[in-house]
Symmetry: C2
Subunit: 430 residues, 2 copies
């Protein structure tokens, strides 16, 4: 099948998919969980081929670790699917309702978006998570995983497709793309594909954004900040900075830049230096930072850089507002934190920082769908439109307006024979 | 000021604008209403220049009528502003909250989007409506109106800007663009502009979509359908079709195609022909339509056409599902209606038609922000992402997550020393 045919098929089958009863979707999810457990052997063997190829091509140990798909990973995937089954049907929920007039009822009802193109790197668990989220939310998917995981992805996709279709899910609900060429073709199919979700490096996401008219949900950079206010508790400031920087450095919600109020610099910076250097973090400071602690010099470029590594840029600022301006100008509108005991300063920071996640006295690493209690996430969005922050089931939905009447026509209202009432309706569409 | 400077200024001033107290925004809206009334003379004189130029260049009478801005139009604008003042502040509303753990509270809070570029044709009332909606929702605006209304738009923008700034609204909250060149420049400023809302012809909206990386909210086509089911009441079917087609032909929510179930054709089509031809509507039917009534032949292209005129294409279908398939394939996902007395057929239609507005037994002309009770609208969106259908204040908002802690770090949760609770929080952020 060509990529265009897959997309056409997905768009066609989406119509039936979006109307599937909750029981059918849950039965399919249950069958997928069972099939993953039953066919564990075949999946693990396919993964062994990928691992062998990864070792042959000297893939980095971190990537090999992410690529590995074993009994424990399958069990985690199945656990995630069971949680999803327990959640209520997100589709068909009445979000708002109003009686425009007697017997003329307007309902805003949640419904799936359509065909979603997801492109992700390495981790095969992402495939299972994305497919189950899309199935529960009634969306069709075109999916492209990392080529290092080609055998694992194919095995997982085959198991999932067969199990779902046997339960009555339309055949075209998912297609696995297997080459870069197919991804390029998909980016041009704006007639059929409603949304692209890319998960991967900054350069990768930007490439996607620049090469498609299809809306893209996600984030490119994750330049997150911790700002230590003059009224910060020094011990808390150190803990939060260390966690934000080092709890896991290779992720988008790790801190890359530390801002320190001038009045706090002398008390906090030496303690921070000791704690961060003990974890192997290289510090790059502005001139005022280096007047307090010994570290290498930060350039202008450092403050624009997402290191994803054990490096932290540091800048001393004279005021809360200077910190806010720096974050709005240099940040990526992802996740930024203020550490302060001053409620007024916290309030101002939370209000004026224009980011998807804005924190007071806690680590930037909390920005995550699981930690937010969303069950699972398809990614974190720094978009201003649609879903922002960690994106779970809800971000995969749109809505439509249903208006149910008894023959009403606009001429009667336009010519004054009838009048709108706009009475709130406290009942769901069904 | 160059367009880039205007956009930078708007982006900068947005930070203060989005945090304006409700009282300041309402005081500014009140001052704008007063100033419009006080400076009516100057506005009407500016409009006279535009009208004179329009007559000189032989503008169509319909366009001249839309261009005219007199005492009555100003009064309507002021009435709209007063309604907006009475509405609650949409910004800062807590949409959802959860305690991730004791003393670690997550809030999803509504906030404005940023800098919005609005491009509209002719009607100067749209300028007043858009500016007041954006001010109430805390968004900055770059605004380009039709060149036929250049003097009126300039006069209105000057009055509004002066009144708002005198009440403490940041100077850069709005800029009027005055040339096509500036619009072209704005489309390239994705660094500063968060959203484009184009209002105008199909070709115009498509041009905007094709020439910018900035997300576009709105609709190009409005190919709306009325489907007369086999179980339709013939009198109701005629009334709804006549209203959907003729109540105002030049708008996006007017019907362009009529689908008729084969079993209803003989009873309904002759009555429809009489009623529609009495209103001057030209009918273009498929072969099966023409076997029942005398009319011209519809081509394949007719079913793809938004006439915006007294023309209706008609197709006879064999089933409800054929009607649904036709609408999903040929329609523009705007507004589509079923006329039927069969509740099951209505249910299936409402569920399977993939449009922003799906109706049962009422005119397509109801798809409108005022009629939906939204107070005002910036346009109607057929986007799948973000706002869909008529877009009022709510569609001009996004949200951010605020997380308020007491020093919590992720390592404690990752290493099992603390556990997430995810308890629903029934209180607003403030």
């Amino acid at each position: 099948m060509t990529t265009r045919e897959m997309a056409q098929r997905a768009k066609h089958d989406f119509i039936a998919l979006q109307a599937l009863p909750h029981e059918t979707k849950n039965a399919a999810l249950g069958a997928i969980a069972d099939a993953l457990l039953r066919q564990e052997q075949a999946i693990v063997e396919a993964n062994r081929l990928d691992l062998a190829e990864g070792e042959r091509t000297a893939l980095a140990p971190e990537l090999l670790r992410r690529l590995k798909f074993d009994h424990a990973k399958i069990a985690t995937c199945v656990e995630g699917i069971r949680q999803l089954i327990a959640m209520p049907d997100p589709v068909g929920r009445t979000l708002w309702a109003s009686a425009l007039d007697e017997g003329l009822e307007l309902y805003r009802v949640a419904c799936p978006i359509g065909v979603i193109g997801v492109i992700f790197e390495s981790r095969p668990d992402a495939l299972v998570q994305i497919l189950s989220l899309c199935l529960k939310s009634g969306n069709a998917v075109l999916l492209k995983g990392g080529s290092e995981a080609a055998n694992t992805n194919r095995a997982l996709a085959d198991v999932i497709h067969a199990a779902a279709v046997a339960e009555g899910v339309p055949d075209g609900f998912m297609h696995l793309l297997t080459s870069r060429g197919e991804v390029g073709e998909m980016l041009a199919l704006d007639e059929y594909v409603d949304l692209i979700i890319p998960r991967g490096s900054n350069a990768f996401v930007r490439y996607i954004m620049d090469h498609s008219r299809i809306p893209v949900m996600g984030h490119a950079d994750g330049i997150c900040h911790v700002y230590i206010d003059r009224a910060a508790d020094p011990a808390m400031a150190v803990d939060i900075t260390v966690d934000s920087k080092t709890q896991y450095v290779a992720v988008c919600n790790a801190a890359e830049t530390l801002l320190v109020h001038a009045d706090a610099a002398a008390a906090v910076l030496p303690r921070l230096k000791a704690a961060l250097e003990a974890r192997g973090v290289e510090l790059r400071g502005c001139a005022r930072t280096r007047a307090v602690i010994d570290c290498s010099a930060a350039t202008e470029q450092d403050f624009h850089t997402e290191y994803l590594d054990y490096i932290l840029s540091i800048k001393v600022v004279d005021s809360l507002d200077e910190a806010i301006d720096h974050i709005n100008a240099y940040g990526s509108h992802h996740t930024d934190c203020i550490v302060t005991g001053d409620a007024g300063a916290a309030e101002r920071f939370l209000q004026l920082v224009d980011s998807a996640n804005v924190y007071h006295n806690c680590s930037t690493r909390f920005a995550d769908g699981f930690r937010y209690g969303f069950g699972a996430e398809v990614g974190i969005s720094t978009n201003k439109l649609h879903a922002r922050g960690p994106v779970g089931l809800e971000g995969l939905l749109t809505y439509k307006y249903l208006l149910c009447g008894h023959g009403q026509i606009v001429a009667d209202y336009a010519e004054g024979r009838r009048h709108f009432r706009h009475t709130p309706l406290d009942k769901p569409y069904r």
